[in-house]
């Protein structure tokens, strides 16, 4: 998190990004297994192949910066520093969960890390982030907010209203759009005439940058710049991270009925984890070191899963609690 001050291409920093991606991936593998085994309830929206965006983007944020994400946002939640065990316990509906089991995967929220919520409604959390940015702007503080959403989300009215106001008031907020080409099963081409999402920002007077979303360092750099601008009073930035989910939209979608295998393979070949691995090797990182990261992250996830499974479900006695303070 404090990485923003690091020289960006430094191997240690890259290893940090790598670790984030590996952690996220390890979590996805574990969750997929739990879901198949019937131990994870509800829907599971993975982001396989998109790991570089959360890793890179969150590295540019401070712990106290605000963040809202979506049902597909577990990578950001981890990269923002939220406790892995609490996250897993929440996803498994345990009393020890981040939100005492009441929220579940779609509603992971931890204000102590600036995480103002994942969301189950497309665009639903955008206003929250823009409003948090407004609070910072009111106080003349240098905290910024980031809100993450997909390509399809720009067609939802709420997104439009918030983008317009962020542009109007010049609020310190980063709109991070993961353009993975599809909204559920609908290709970008079928949801808007104008598929150049950066161009669509001209209507709001919000500067827009497109970035290779499978390169965590590239993502980090553009978000870092956007964050610096926002802290500095320069207002919002829209970042379009070009990426792809090589998995389906959710656990019951193989993802192949509306996409060609060629397209999927093409993107698998550009998957961010092997790609960063390759460049780390090029920079002289030791295989040992990378393996150790995998081992550690797998172990951490494993431990978190075991702990969650061992933990109790919330007792019925808390059912009516937490409605009102």
């Amino acid at each position: 998190m404090a990485a923003a001050t690091k020289p960006a291409a430094d191997t240690e920093f890259l290893l940090g990004l790598y670790r984030q991606m590996v952690r996220m991936s390890a979590l996805e593998v574990a969750l997929t297994k739990l879901s198949r085994d019937g131990q994870l309830r509800g829907s599971l929206h993975l982001a396989t192949g998109q790991e570089a965006v959360p890793a890179g983007a969150c590295a540019a944020l401070r712990k106290d910066d605000y963040l809202t994400v979506t049902y597909r946002g577990h990578g950001y939640v981890l990269a923002k520093g939220v406790d892995l065990e609490e996250v897993v316990a929440e996803i498994l509906g345990r009393a020890t969960g981040l939100n005492t089991g009441k929220g579940g995967k779609m509603h992971l929220t931890d204000p102590s890390h600036g995480l103002l919520g994942a969301n189950g409604i497309v665009a639903g959390g955008i206003g929250t982030a823009v409003g948090a940015a407004m609070a910072s702007w009111m106080d003349g503080a240098d905290r910024v907010a980031m809100t993450v959403f997909g390509d399809g989300t720009l067609n939802q009215g709420h997104a439009h209203e918030c983008l317009n106001m962020a542009g109007l008031f010049r609020l310190p907020v980063i709109f991070l759009c993961e353009n993975n080409l599809y909204a559920e099963m609908t290709h970008l081409d079928k949801s808007a005439k104008v598929t150049d999402l950066c161009k669509r920002m001209e209507t709001y007077g919000i500067p827009a940058v497109r970035v290779d979303g499978n390169d965590p360092l590239a993502v980090f750099r553009v978000v870092e710049t956007a964050v610096a601008g926002a802290r500095n009073g320069d207002g919002p930035t829209f970042v379009e991270a070009m990426t792809y989910r090589t998995c389906g939209h959710y656990q019951n979608d193989p993802g192949t009925s509306y996409r060609t295998l060629d397209e999927i393979k093409e993107w698998e070949a550009k998957a961010p984890i092997p790609r960063l691995q390759a460049s780390l090797y090029q920079q002289g990182a030791a295989a040992d070191e990378l393996e150790k990261i995998h081992r550690e992250e797998n172990a951490a996830v494993d431990k978190a899963v075991k702990a969650a499974i061992a933990a109790p479900e919330p007792p019925v006695s808390v059912l009516l609690e937490d409605m009102f303070v």
């Binding site: 509906g93 409604i121 067609n155 609908t186 808007a192 479900e313 007792p315």
Partner: protein
């Protein structure tokens, strides 16, 4: 309509919906469907599978994630003579389109003095029990009943899913059809070929003399289970499926209450200002002297649907809760309302 019992076979609730759509789209070229991922993909719950191939892309319209927009467009299309059947993936998402649904669609006929005609169907699904948490598990029918202007239907069986949807499509008024995600996997006897029911008719699903259990949608299934349990205990429960929530079939309800004198209403939606409250108020207004005890309710707890299984179970109705509440009512000393 369906006067002669057609041949039937056992099919699923989803297939029954699909049959109604095919049936009505074949019958009337003005009927079209519209929604997210309903065409190429066949719908998140497979209800619109095969329609695109069969009816082409001017009658099976995939939309962007713009519920307010496409429901508004359905209104315009209806006023221009079409019969749109919109799929709203989750009833929870109705909240992003509420102005179009409640200020525009619901009011158009009345506030134009009958000049606007709005033969429009919104199909959607709600309900919990699947761990989909607070924003994907709601039953929001009360909102669509409170603000007048929509007929509201909530089929509990595959046969009703087909027959009520067909009726909704033929109805000249806007109709809100609330399916239930737990019912998509349900199977049941469904008439082959054309099958159209009447809107506004409740059904006595199980006849009994000791207590009237009134329900609808997935909770109806639980009510029937509860009735079976009660039977073993010597209680003869009548079970009524409201099926249409607006307009209400009070005649069927009254017939039952005048026989049993005890009423239990069960639904999954929240209690406060829910259908159960509404029906209880109306029953006691009309039949106060017929009642041998208070009208009780089993409802979803008045909290957002929690994710964890233990809490979700605690928050939603079950056959056991319905049976327990019936026993309390019959024992004559009901405690205060739960929760």
């Amino acid at each position: 309509m369906s006067a002669v019992a057609a041949a039937s076979r056992v099919i699923g609730y989803t297939q029954a919906i699909n049959e109604a759509l095919v049936q009505e789209m074949e019958r009337d070229p003005n009927v079209f469907v519209m929604g997210e991922d309903i065409g190429r993909f066949g719908g998140m719950f497979r209800a619109t599978e095969g329609l695109l191939e069969r009816f082409g892309e001017k009658r099976v319209i995939d939309t962007p994630i713009s519920e307010s927009g496409f429901i508004g467009m359905a209104l315009g299309a209806a006023m221009a003579g079409k019969r749109p059947v919109v799929e709203l993936m989750f009833v929870d998402f109705s909240l992003v389109a509420m102005d179009q649904i409640l200020n525009q669609v619901a009011k158009a006929q009345y506030m134009t003095g009958g000049k606007a005609h709005v033969p429009l169907v919104i199909r959607t699904q709600g309900g919990g029990y699947k761990g989909t948490a607070a924003q994907h598990s709601q039953m929001l029918e009360a909102l669509f009943v409170h603000v007048p202007g929509l007929k509201v239907v909530a089929p509990a069986t595959p046969a009703d899913a087909k027959g009520l949807l067909a009726a909704a499509i033929r109805d000249p008024n806007p109709v809100f059809v609330l399916e239930h995600k737990q019912l998509y996997a349900a199977k049941g006897d469904v008439p082959e070929g054309e099958h159209v029911q009447f809107l506004g008719q409740a059904r006595v699903v199980r006849s009994g003399r000791d207590i009237s259990i009134i329900s609808y949608s997935y909770t109806l299934i639980q009510a029937l289970e509860a009735a079976a349990t009660l039977e073993e205990e010597g209680v003869d429960a009548e079970v009524i499926d409201l099926r249409t929530l607006n307009p209400l079939d009070l005649r069927t309800v009254e017939g039952s209450v005048s026989k049993t004198h005890r009423v239990l209403i069960a639904h999954e939606a929240h209690a406060r200002c829910g259908i159960g409250a509404d029906l209880a108020a109306q029953i006691q207004e009309r039949m106060f002297d017929d009642l041998d005890g208070p009208i009780l309710r089993v409802c979803g707890a008045d909290v957002p649907v929690p994710f964890a299984q233990s809490l979700e179970d605690a928050s939603l109705p079950s056959a056991a809760k319905i049976a327990a509440r019936a026993r309390e009512l019959l024992s004559g000393t009901p405690p205060l309302r739960e929760g």
